[in-house]
């Protein structure tokens, strides 16, 4: 499996954020997107997921299937995509059903336990702390298997044990031949190639 972007150009609100960016990522590789605030890290991730129209260029995930890249990717953005009125358990069951691509995944209870949230499984998400919500957001990477992970600042609000846990999950995904593109300011804890944005302009 290979993700390749060629001559990627993305504009938002009439301003060109990314111009002529090309890279390829092979199975088992992690790309750490770095750069100062406003360099276009989130924009790049959203463009890769297909949420933003490309001004020019193309993103391909080969071998191609009839599914779009978005359907084969996990996107973890700044928001945790959890409904605060529902319990953690209900949220993850929903996300497992919504994102299931037929590739299986961990049972919800196992994913919750792995992220160290077993004691909070039946609490409404509104009661959880920012770090616990972030752990829950990462738990959805486990409940539905998808080859490409697009992670926007995945380690925000996580404590030291949770960062180690996240690194362990990321390296597990890479070992299975998955691909990761992560925008980050912190060390991911896995071997990653660096893509520096904002250096050219």
């Amino acid at each position: 499996m290979q993700l390749s972007a060629s001559h990627l150009t993305v504009s938002r609100g009439g301003r060109t954020i990314i111009a002529g960016l090309s890279f390829t990522l092979s199975a088992g590789e992690c790309l750490a997107v770095t750069g100062p605030n406003g360099a276009g890290k989130s924009t790049l991730l959203r463009a890769l997921a297909g949420f933003l129209p490309l001004g020019f260029g193309a993103v391909t995930l080969s071998p191609g299937t009839d599914q779009s890249i978005a359907e084969r990717a996990h996107y973890v953005g700044h928001a945790d995509a959890l409904k605060s009125s529902l319990t953690l358990n209900e949220n993850l069951h929903f996300l497992a059903d919504l994102l299931d691509a037929g590739l299986g995944g961990l049972p919800v209870s196992a994913a919750i336990a792995k992220m160290g949230l077993a004691h909070a499984a039946d609490l409404p998400v509104a009661c959880l702390s920012a770090g616990q919500k972030r752990r829950a957001a990462l738990a959805r990477l486990l409940v539905a298997r998808r080859p490409l992970w697009l992670l926007d600042e995945p380690l925000t609000a996580l404590d030291e044990p949770a960062r180690n846990l996240a690194a362990q999950i990321l390296s597990g995904h890479l070992a299975e031949g998955g691909l990761i593109v992560a925008a980050t300011h912190a060390e991911l804890g896995v071997k990653a190639r660096e893509l520096k944005l904002g250096a050219l302009s």
């Binding site: 949420f51 359907e71 953005g77 929903f94 059903d97 919504l98 994102l99 039946d122």
Partner: protein, 231 residues
């Protein structure tokens, strides 16, 4: 409250339906609040018109329909906004279920929590307005057939204003004019007084047709709006 751990896998759309119903019932009093709002609107109209029972009975279908329209649109501007704010909307785009069907499911869940209780409460509130008993079922049926169109049309407005912080007023300005056809034929169908020459069946069928048109057009329009919302 939380229910037993469900082991059975559901399809993406079924899971979305149950999630929306569950969170809709838990937040903001759910269905009861919409009915109370409906009741208040009807009562305000009755107070404004005064104690002329004959006049009240005559305009009751119109009052019930306008109140039903406003109560249906109440809260509808948040249909996609909550999902936009918490990031769920991005995940809908990564689901294998088409966005158009996701919108249909969300509108249907919203209608079950707002439109359906309104139609069910309409005969009771009709009695309050001195609506003749034989006409009660007409109002109920016309609201039952017409409110889905209001919810679906509102879905377009909700999608267009999804990224606006205070989009409520803009939403109403955009959507209320589009609801006028349903309102006209809904009141026509509900009004069985001697002066009404059209009867029940013709306007009711047109009302059903409007709902079917909305069911086809609104999800496509709302999906296009969501995809280009710069989300």
């Amino acid at each position: 409250m939380t229910g037993a751990r469900r082991l059975k896998k559901k399809s993406a759309l079924a899971a979305l339906f149950f999630r929306d119903i569950r969170s809709g019932r838990r937040v903001g009093g759910g269905t009861s609040l919409g009915i109370v709002f409906f009741l208040i609107l009807v009562t305000v109209f009755a107070f404004a018109i005064g104690p002329d029972l004959k006049l009240l009975g005559k305009v009751a279908p119109a009052i019930l329909w306008v109140a039903g329209l406003l109560a249906t649109l109440l809260g509808l501007d948040r249909l996609f906004q909550a999902d936009h704010e918490d990031g769920s909307l991005d995940l809908f785009l990564t689901s294998s279920a088409p966005l158009e069907l996701i919108i249909v499911v969300k509108c249907f869940a919203h209608w079950l929590l707002t439109g359906l209780p309104l139609a069910a409460a309409a005969p009771v509130f009709g009695l309050m307005l001195n609506l003749p008993v034989p006409e009660l079922w007409r109002v109920t049926l016309s609201l039952l057939a017409g409110t889905p169109a209001l919810t679906l049309t509102g879905g377009i407005g909700a999608a267009l204003t999804v990224s606006l912080r205070r989009g409520g007023l803009l939403f109403a300005v955009l959507i209320l004019p589009l609801c006028i056809p349903s309102l006209i034929f809904g009141v026509f169908a509900a009004d069985a007084s001697e002066t009404s020459a059209v009867g029940f069946v013709a306007p009711f069928l047109i009302l059903c047709a409007l709902t079917l048109i909305a069911a086809v057009v609104a999800p496509v329009a709302a999906a296009a709006a969501l995809r280009h919302a710069g989300v």
